[in-house]
């Protein structure tokens, strides 16, 4: 059976208010990810997401990411102070056994629309301050040189401490970039 919701049908959120006040996200139940926000990145050096307060898993979907120059990179860093600073110590992260100052999301992405790269990144159980924060990523799309072959690791761990993560940063080390990032959340069961 197909149910069609039209623009005039009322949708009642759990707390009876609008879809973007945060309380709705906290009230989400079930196994599905719920859409939280979409940010259009237009020629900026970094895009950050603050307010990761829901106990559960956050997923960030990066779509059609291009850099202003060929062979650009995009890193991910986490914040444990609400986004005031982002962890960037030389050994704050562990990528495939190597200590790094960031989780590399993309390397060698291109500069034209046809070279747009995509990724899906999950930060599980972000508010759990008793475990090292894991960063799980899957990649797709096309690099500047070779389709689907990113010089990046599909998983990493923030190892500087067992802290709750409450903000994340996607940042280019050199030059601006563009694309779309969606944030989704799934509350802990």
């Amino acid at each position: 059976m197909t149910t069609t919701i039209s623009g005039t049908d009322g949708i009642t959120w759990p707390d009876g208010t609008g879809p973007s006040d945060g309380a709705d996200v906290e009230n989400i139940q079930g196994d599905e990810y719920a859409f939280v926000s979409r940010a259009t990145v237009a020629s900026t050096l970094s895009q950050v997401f603050t307010g990761l307060t829901t106990a559960g898993d956050y997923k960030f979907i990066l779509r059609s990411i291009t850099h202003e120059t060929d062979n650009g990179s995009i890193y991910l860093r986490v914040s444990i102070d609400g986004g005031s600073t982002y962890e960037a110590g030389a050994s704050d992260y562990l990528e495939d056994g190597s200590s790094t100052a960031q989780q590399i999301i993309f390397n060698q992405i291109g500069s034209t629309a046809g070279e747009g790269a995509d990724a899906e990144i999950v930060l599980p159980d972000v508010t759990n301050a008793t475990v090292f924060q894991r960063i799980l990523a899957a990649y797709g799309g096309r690099t500047n040189a070779t389709p689907g072959a990113y010089n990046a690791n599909p998983h990493g761990v923030y190892v500087a401490g067992t802290d709750a993560v409450n903000a994340v940063q996607f940042i280019s080390p050199s030059g601006d970039w563009s694309g779309v990032i969606e944030a989704w959340v799934r509350a802990a069961q």
Partner: protein, 84 residues
């Protein structure tokens, strides 16, 4: 030109674009220096032939006494030199 960042608050759903603050600029300078120093590696990786093709080059170089593989590697290294 002002370097900017987008900030999305997942509680309010609002996004604003603001200039980098001093801490951001300090970290950016560190990131850029490291990235620029290692950029040649990515460019070389992009230009190297697939490993299977390189193994084929090495095989025929052994058979014929040629240096196709060596010349290929040398050409890529020369095209993207390591910074001093």
């Amino acid at each position: 030109m002002t370097i900017t960042k987008g900030v999305t608050n997942l509680i309010t759903g609002k996004t604003v674009v603001v200039p980098l603050d001093s801490d951001d600029l300090t970290q950016h300078a560190i990131d850029k220096a490291l990235f620029d120093a290692n950029l040649y590696k990515g460019k070389r990786e992009a230009d190297y032939a697939p490993l299977a093709d390189q193994q084929d080059m090495q095989y025929w170089d052994s058979v014929h006494g040629t240096r196709i593989w060596l010349d290929h590697i040398a050409a890529v290294k020369a095209k993207h030199p390591k910074p001093d």
